[in-house]
């Protein structure tokens, strides 16, 4: 019950981690089924229809329900601690964001049990996803599930922006902020400006499907290319939303385990800003074969290639941070170091795909599949694993087992490259993506078999991580404040796991890497910026949970044309909002001095 009502960012982080990992496993299982089907030519392990459902749900689940919540898990667990704040700006909205994401994801996955599963691909292109070619409720689950989950993401973005602008510890100017907080900030800005476009895309498709609107009905004057534009205006920033937090994690981990200050901090900040800015200018490179004409294609090609410049700056800065450092090869640092060459490969194929004439050859082949798995799995997921191993002691108070951790890394890393490296060549010799099977003796057989073996190895790596989590959880809670001993930022100055109020006294920040500076100056703790006093805390609330249930119920009402149910669900949510406004939350006070005595 405590977990249903919590507004504590550390607990919400753990909720995001559990729910996100659960969906990550579901998406992973779908991936394994896809790979089993493609292991041999003319396989009939799953039917063609089932295969379409699997690829659609794999992509949608991994992006929206696996990757995004895992990012929010790390953001929640770490950002307030690194800022020297006692909580996020809006603890209530934080809980609401989690529960809307959770119920949106639940609604999407219930489609498996209802039997009408979305099957128009994760990009849900029209007219395939429209009412004419997709008359069952499948795509409705996609439209409404993502709409509800999207509310949660938007709230999270607003929350972290406000937190980072308003709640930094005394002395922490923007340019003294840890790199991960910068990444969190830029990602949040991108969420705020990208997700509303998805909202509109989903609303338009929903109106077309449920209320006979004509946004994408060509016969009634609608336009199918409009969907591609709106979807990618959201969708391209989305991939930067995914990768930028990984950049932040890698910066922290590389710097800590090289025992060196991050090389080129200000250029790192500037390149992040530049990547985010350009990220909004390149959506049509997903549509180079749509036929927008040579001028549009050229402009979007060049803009896309430009992103390689700030990204290259970041890669070199990580290498220069490692250069001459006294590197420790912990699991976290292995994941971070493995990230760098893997992400470079994904970046290089990205620049290849950006070239419009060549893209006519690559488009919709396994080359594209290999590219985006290199940047999302080889980029984001390796980054998430690095971050989880690195911050696990801070989140749970226990050090993860390093031996199992290193096995996790090697199985996952080798499995990953085995799966996806060959797919570049599969694509180049002509294997189309999204096909459920292929004829033998076209040169596809061996590489597909290798790819499937690699997928199993990644599965083993993921299971090893779960085993490690369970084994670690059975150990006593004995992690020190600064368990890696080389911590640089404020989260390593407080107990692991931190008390409910995080900081007994807000710390005074005197430089970048404030904790490292204090250690170098011979101090054993931060200089406090305020006297010890009672700390104000927000009260727990069940309303975020109820509001999300209301939206969940309304979703089913819309889908099955039960208008009374839709109205009841929306009304329940509005009433909860009203209750929140009417009854002021006065919170409560914790006196840290009394707690120590008790």
């Amino acid at each position: 019950m405590d977990w249903l009502t919590t507004v504590d960012h550390k607990k919400i982080g753990i909720l995001y981690l559990i729910a996100g990992f659960m969906f990550f496993l579901v998406g992973g299982l779908e991936a394994i089924l896809i790979r089993i089907q493609l292991m041999t030519p003319m396989n009939d392990f799953v039917s063609a229809d089932r295969f379409n459902e699997l690829i659609t749900m794999h992509g949608t689940t991994m992006i929206f329900l696996g990757a995004m919540p895992l990012i929010f898990a790390v953001l929640n667990a770490v950002v307030p601690l690194q800022l020297g704040a006692r909580d996020v700006a809006f603890p209530f909205l934080n809980a609401l964001g989690f529960w809307t994401f959770f119920f949106g994801g639940l609604l999407l996955n219930i489609s498996w049990f209802v039997g009408t599963v979305p099957d128009a691909g994760w990009t849900s292109y029209v007219p395939l996803a429209g009412p004419d070619y997709n008359s069952t409720a499948g795509v409705d689950f996609y439209v409404i599930g993502l709409q509800i989950a999207g509310i949660g993401t938007l709230l999270g973005g607003i929350n972290f922006m406000a937190t980072i602008i308003n709640m930094r510890a005394p002395g922490m100017s923007f340019m003294r902020m840890p790199m991960f907080c910068w990444a969190a900030f830029i990602t949040s800005v991108m969420i705020v400006f990208a997700f509303p476009a998805l909202t509109v895309a989903l609303v338009a498709l929903m109106f077309d499907r449920l209320f006979q609107a004509n946004f994408f009905e060509v016969g009634a004057g609608g336009n199918t290319v409009l969907w591609e534009h709106i979807f990618w205006v959201f969708g391209h920033p989305e991939v930067y939303i995914l990768i930028i937090p990984a950049f932040g994690i890698i910066s922290e981990v590389v710097s800590t385990f090289s025992r060196k200050r991050l090389f080129g901090y200000s250029s790192m900040v500037f390149s992040l800003v530049l990547i985010a800015f350009l990220g909004f200018m390149v959506w049509a490179h997903h549509m180079l074969t749509t036929g927008l004409g040579p001028v549009a294609n050229a402009l979007f090609s060049i803009a896309t290639m430009l992103i390689g410049v700030p990204t290259g700056v970041k890669i070199f800065n990580w290498l220069f941070t490692l250069w001459g450092g006294s590197i420790r090869f912990t699991t976290a640092s292995l994941f971070a170091i493995g990230f760098i060459p893997t992400f470079v490969l994904g970046g290089v194929t990205g620049v290849m795909l950006a070239s419009a004439p060549a893209d006519y050859q690559y488009h919709d082949t396994y080359f594209v599949v290999a590219h985006f798995h290199y940047v999302i799995v080889g980029g984001l997921i390796l980054g998430i694993f690095a971050g989880l191993h690195y911050w696990w002691p801070k989140m749970f108070g226990r050090m993860m087992n390093e031996t199992i951790g290193k096995w996790t890394f090697w199985t996952f890393f080798i499995g990953f490259h085995l799966t996806f490296f060959v797919q570049h060549f599969l694509g180049l010799i002509g294997m189309q993506r999204r096909v459920y099977t292929y004829l033998p003796n076209q040169g596809f057989d061996n590489m597909n078999f290798i790819s499937t073996i690699g997928a199993f190895l990644m599965g083993v790596g993921t299971i090893l991580f779960l085993v490690n989590a369970v084994v670690t959880n059975m150990k006593p809670r004995d992690a020190a404040n600064d368990p890696w001993e080389d911590g640089r930022t404020l989260e390593w100055t407080i107990p692991s796991p931190p008390p409910e109020y995080n900081f007994k006294q807000l710390p005074l920040v005197r430089s970048l890497d404030p904790w490292w500076k204090e250690k170098m100056d011979g101090s054993t703790e931060m200089t406090p910026a305020e006297p010890v006093g009672p700390i104000h805390m927000p009260s727990p609330s069940i309303l975020p949970f109820l509001m999300s249930v209301g939206l969940f119920v309304a979703g089913f009402g819309f889908m099955y044309k039960l208008h009374w149910l839709a109205i009841a669900g929306i009304a329940a949510t509005l009433i909860c909002m009203m209750l929140r406004s009417l009854f002021d939350d006065h919170g409560f006070h914790i006196d840290p001095e009394e707690e120590v005595q008790a």
Partner: protein, 205 residues
């Protein structure tokens, strides 16, 4: 927590920014409006892309009745002005005047909504329905989204008027009033764009 020191029982100069919670609320709301700009921006783009696809439905130059829409525009603009006076009254700590201006804001908002419902009814009877054409779908979605925002604002500000009666003006209620007022201005600005892009451009073809 508060950086602004103030005497007990006396309202500080800018009550909406007197506490960290208040400052967070105002900042967070501005960020939310940034997201709303993208939301309406995308709706406008879809409308502009589809607005010539009238098909057999009535053409916008025959459909739109400019005098009535001009009246609706004036009503909403005036309502926005009322909300400026409300915030000024709040800063002078005149709670009665504040409630009065808020009531006027809500009444004008309701009048606007009434006109819009009447307008939509007329259109439907002239054969301009949600499923008539791509133009009609994008028209009802864009203008309807705005109307839903107005309706939500009316409910929200009414709720706040009730809270002012019960709780009075303090550092908890002041930020709520303040953000609802910037929300109201935002809706007003969106309407100015709807008036120009949808109605005026529709009239000239």
């Amino acid at each position: 927590m508060s950086a602004h020191q103030h005497v007990e029982g006396q309202l500080p100069h800018e009550p909406e920014r007197a506490t960290l919670e208040g400052r967070n609320k105002v900042l967070g709301f501005w960020i939310f409006l940034g997201a709303e700009v993208v939301l309406f921006g995308t709706l406008f783009s879809a409308f502009i892309a589809l607005r010539h696809q009238v098909l057999d439905g009535p053409h916008p130059s025959h459909l739109f009745e400019l005098p009535m829409i001009f009246a609706a525009t004036m009503i909403l603009l005036t309502s926005s002005l009322m909300s400026v006076f409300a915030v000024q009254a709040m800063h002078r700590n005149q709670i009665k005047a504040l409630i009065g201006w808020l009531v006027l804001t809500v009444v004008l908002g309701l009048a606007f909504l009434g006109l819009e419902i009447f307008e939509f009814n007329t259109y439907v009877s002239e054969g301009h329905k949600m499923n008539t054409s791509a133009f009609s779908s994008s028209f009802y979605t864009l203008v309807g989204f705005h109307g839903a925002h107005v309706a939500f604002g009316v409910l929200w500000i009414s709720l706040l008027i009730g809270q002012l009666y019960k709780k009075g003006l303090n550092v908890v209620t002041a930020p709520k009033i303040y953000v609802s007022m910037i929300y109201w201005h935002f809706i007003d600005v969106v309407w100015v764009f709807i008036f120009s892009v949808v109605y005026l451009m529709g009239k000239v073809g």
